[in-house]
């Protein structure tokens, strides 16, 4: 089924293959509906609750008031700024290094951490294991980011458990764009969420079985979320800041740009005006491309849909942008294949098995432009 | 009286599953096997899975029938689950002649399918609360796990104010509340978040 036949929301452009999307009787999607519902929430009283949580954690007098999971992207940068400047908490900033951070993003991190003045801890997993996990994950899910999804979510929690820090504050709520949780639900970032959304339905124990004895369980420790018992017994609370404030990406991006000199970057497969989303990862373009191959939509659909929802873009213009930008194979895809040791045929065989019904996998022919920092990616990644 | 939740232990019951569900909610329940432990509790759960008759038999032989009977309209909060709800009535077509606790006048009758044969209501279904009062966390949008072949058709004492589930030609009373008692036909301990929520509301009921 070509993209033209996928059911799209009558307002935004999200198709029926978007994770957990449903449509109401008028054809309006659940993401649009949730967005409307969000504006009816009593954010003031939530703000008061958040301030109480901040007071409670400060009164414990620990070495740190909270852990802030940090990549340096727009959400974690805003969250860190808010926690330090507004809530006035002392954070331990924790970052999982998935191996693919881009230069502009690393410069942003350096600037932000120095300007705000915070303690920072980072973890980089074994590169050999990462590459094997990327291949295994790609084979079984058409998504090579398992090590990143699991590591990014596990490392800050493990840090909180090991150092007995009772609070972990994340950024955007999953309810912004998906229906895994109800909009007005105070969901935690806990084992249930990890299993429901984060780990692609594969825990570290499961991955061990899938890799058929090539690893020991301890090799997968960095990708293991702490157990509910470990978290509950220490009374650790872990939630997205988006539970307590009306998330406004544009406002937040403007804030970090002006207050912290945070800079945007160009991402493969999206119009250049969207210089603030997903600028962290070298593999973002390839990742979005694989999503397009599986589900028939990708990053440009997502970003234009947000603007349409907020009344900042006409639906027709959005559609034009989508057909211009999503129909391109990223320049970096070859680099990805070289890194993992995959041929074109092997990739195609994998992708054939990964189609999400009813999308039947139209393949783009055009190739995207070379990213400005591409040569650095080659240097950093192809180390043998 | 301090809050203490007791689960009546029956072989014809699934007390272990209920205990585990409460544990997941952070509630440490005690196992009730005799009058002594029964009397310590502020909240009592009677989970029954087998036939009307076998639950009554067991309560009688464990000498719990009479003490339980006295709990009606007392300060104790009582929850009858599945067969545990059914035995709060007068009797059941399942075991004619066997007397229930008699708190309510209902008689349990067999579920019949379109062909007129006995049927089981086994699976997930929704509950219609309609205009009825709020009963624990029950809502029209939730789904619960049912597993029974006899049902309560009406609870006069509750004046039609209860949750219902339609199945074939039967209108099943799926949840009701009256005085200090809640009757639940489905299995909250097998109904995931929505079921656990129901147990949580019961435990917090003062």
């Amino acid at each position: 089924m070509a993209k033209e036949s996928l059911q799209l929301c009558t307002k935004c452009l999200l198709p029926e293959t978007h994770e957990t999307i449903t449509y109401d009787a008028t054809g309006l999607c659940s993401v649009c509906n949730n967005s409307q519902e969000k504006s009816t929430i009593d954010w003031q009283s939530r703000q008061i609750e958040l301030e109480q949580i901040a007071r409670d954690t400060k009164s414990l007098g620990g070495n740190y008031d909270c852990v802030i999971p940090f990549s340096g992207g727009k959400d974690s940068t805003f969250t860190l700024y808010y926690v330090v400047k507004v809530l006035k908490l002392k954070p331990l900033v924790a970052s999982f290094d998935h191996g693919f951070y881009r230069d502009v993003l690393l410069d942003n991190r350096n600037k932000v951490l120095k300007k705000l003045g915070v303690d920072f801890v980072s973890f980089t997993p074994n590169w050999h294991i990462v590459k094997q996990l990327m291949l295994a994950s790609l084979r079984d899910r058409g998504d090579f980011c398992w090590h990143c999804h699991t590591g990014v979510n596990s490392f800050p929690m493990r840090t909180a458990v090991e150092k007995n820090i009772p609070l972990v504050i994340w950024g955007e709520s999953s309810t912004e764009y998906t229906n895994y949780y109800k909009t007005n639900q105070f969901h935690q970032i806990d084992e249930e969420l990890f299993n429901r959304i984060t780990n692609l339905g594969i825990s570290a124990e499961d991955m061990l079985m899938r890799l058929e004895g090539n690893f020991e369980l301890r090799d997968l420790f960095p990708f293991t979320f702490p157990s509910s018992e470990e978290i509950k017994s220490r009374g650790i609370r872990s939630f997205p800041l988006g539970n307590y404030m009306e998330w406004d990406t544009q406002k937040q991006v403007n804030l970090i740009k002006s207050e912290l000199e945070w800079e945007g970057d160009q991402v493969e497969g999206v119009p250049s005006t969207y210089d603030y989303e997903k600028i962290e990862c070298m593999m973002q373009g390839s990742r979005d491309y694989l999503k397009y191959r599986k589900r028939g939509y990708a990053r440009t659909t997502h970003l234009t849909s947000i603007d349409i929802r907020n009344g900042k873009l006409e639906r027709e213009t959005g559609k034009e942008l989508v057909s211009e930008y999503e129909d391109k194979r990223p320049h970096s895809l070859q680099l990805f294949m070289d890194l993992i040791g995959l041929t074109e045929e092997e990739l195609e065989t994998i992708l054939e098995q990964q189609l999400i019904d009813p999308w039947d996998g139209r393949i783009p022919v055009k190739i995207g432009a070379k990213p400005h920092d591409y040569e650095n990616w080659v240097k950093k990644l192809l180390v043998n | 009286m301090n809050r203490l939740v007791g689960i009546v232990q029956l072989e014809a019951g699934n007390s272990a599953s209920v205990e585990r569900a409460l544990e997941a909610l952070g509630v440490k329940a005690i196992q009730v096997r005799d009058v002594k432990t029964l009397e310590l509790c502020s909240h009592i759960i009677l989970p029954g899975v087998a036939s009307f008759g076998s639950v009554i038999d067991e309560l009688q032989s464990k000498k719990l029938f009479a003490p339980l009977k006295n709990l009606y309209e007392s300060d104790i909060k009582f929850m009858g689950l599945c067969a545990g709800m059914q035995i709060m009535g007068k009797g059941s077509q399942e075991n004619p002649g066997v007397q229930g606790l008699g708190w309510f006048t209902y008689e349990n009758i067999a579920i019949v399918n379109n062909e007129g044969s006995k049927a089981f209501h086994t699976g997930w279904n929704s509950v219609q609360m309609g205009d009825s009062q709020k009963i624990l966390s029950a809502s029209d949008n939730s789904s619960y796990y049912f597993n029974h072949s006899y049902y309560v058709p009406n609870v006069e004492e509750a004046h039609d104010d209860f949750g219902r589930t339609e199945y074939f030609n039967s209108t099943i009373v799926s949840i009701f509340k009256h005085s200090n008692v809640v009757g639940i036909q489905f299995h909250p301990e097998k109904s995931q978040v929505e079921g656990l929520d129901m147990l949580k509301h019961f435990v917090e009921w003062d």
């Binding site: 029926e16 293959t17 994770e19 957990t20 999307i21 449903t22 449509y23 079984d140 899910r141 058409g142 229906n179 109800k182 084992e191 969420l193 299993n195 429901r196 780990n199 692609l200 339905g201 594969i202 825990s203 124990e205 499961d206 061990l208 079985m209 899938r210 058929e212 004895g213 098995q353 990964q354 189609l355 999400i356 019904d357 009813p358 | 585990r20 399918n113 379109n114 062909e115 089981f120 209501h121 086994t122 699976g123 997930w124 279904n125 929704s126 789904s143 796990y145 597993n147 072949s149 589930t165 339609e166 199945y167 074939f168 301990e189 097998k190 109904s191 995931q192 978040v193 079921g195 656990l196």
Partner: protein, 260 residues
């Protein structure tokens, strides 16, 4: 009218992993063991977090995984979930069944015992109720090919045998039937709708359709044809679609599923 929600039932198929010396969860292809895909309690935990409808745990290695070991796995899986659990694999006596029920299993799944020990199964139905038993029948749906000998010796029958099998299951006293097309098992090319429709004509018991599910449309077709439930072993193993995601898609197709 049958108002029950349609169910999707992930199957956790257990087998002994010699390398790792653990009992793992596996997928099969045409009823041959295919790949290890996880740890049973971990998979159960993941399905619970996804609000799955029911879990079916099947022992594929009855020679290596005895009753005690099986009970241990059942127990560990049961402790992860707050939804109905079915379990099967070599259950052929009321004694075995009662030990399995005791650890928190709602229904047992039986196949060979229906042929070899039907009276025992009837005894179980009498004591625990017919709704506590799922009768399973595995057939070879690829009528243009002969049944592989390895499957004949395991009791897999031709499609023609389905009517008799279903009738005898009703007589024995099962509460639900599960039909499995071994030729489609693990292939993800679609389930056997012809056999399903025939089965629906023969029995009024709820039918669990199994084997071959690979796309959302397959589920839609099976449910629209009249199955009460779909059991899947391979579906969630190799595709980027979780239980909750599938459920949303089915709701969009008008299938009466539980929706969070």
């Amino acid at each position: 009218m049958d108002t029950l929600f349609k169910r999707i039932v992930p199957k956790i198929l257990i087998s002994q992993n010699a390398n790792l010396q653990v009992i793992g969860s596996i997928t099969t292809k045409e009823y041959e063991k295919f790949r290890f895909i996880g740890s049973p309690p971990s998979q159960a935990r993941i399905f619970e977090s996804n609000m799955a409808d029911e879990i079916m745990l099947l022992n594929l290695d009855q020679d290596l995984i005895d009753l005690e070991m099986f009970k241990d796995v059942v127990s560990r899986v049961s402790s992860e979930i707050f939804m109905p659990l079915s379990a099967g694999g070599g259950i052929n006596s009321i004694d075995m069944a009662s030990k399995i029920f005791e650890i928190g299993v709602e229904k047992i799944v039986v196949e060979r015992a229906l042929q070899q020990n039907p009276q025992e199964i009837s005894k179980i139905a009498n004591r625990y109720g017919s709704q506590s038993i799922i009768g399973s029948c595995t057939y070879w749906g690829a009528t243009s090919l002969p049944i592989p000998p390895r499957l004949v010796s395991r009791g897999v029958v031709t499609v023609d045998a389905l009517p008799t099998r279903l009738a005898s299951m009703e007589q024995i006293g099962v509460g639900e039937v599960m039909i499995n097309d071994a030729s489609r098992d693990g292939t993800r090319r679609g389930s056997n709708l012809v056999a399903l429709r025939e089965a629906l004509n023969i029995t009024s018991l709820p039918i669990i359709d199994s084997c071959g599910f690979g796309k959302t449309q397959h589920f839609v077709d099976s449910f629209n044809s009249g199955s009460s439930a779909v059991a899947v072993g391979t579906y969630f193993a190799f595709v980027d679609q979780s239980f909750m995601q599938l459920r949303s898609q089915l709701a969009n197709h008008g299938i009466r599923v539980r929706l969070k």
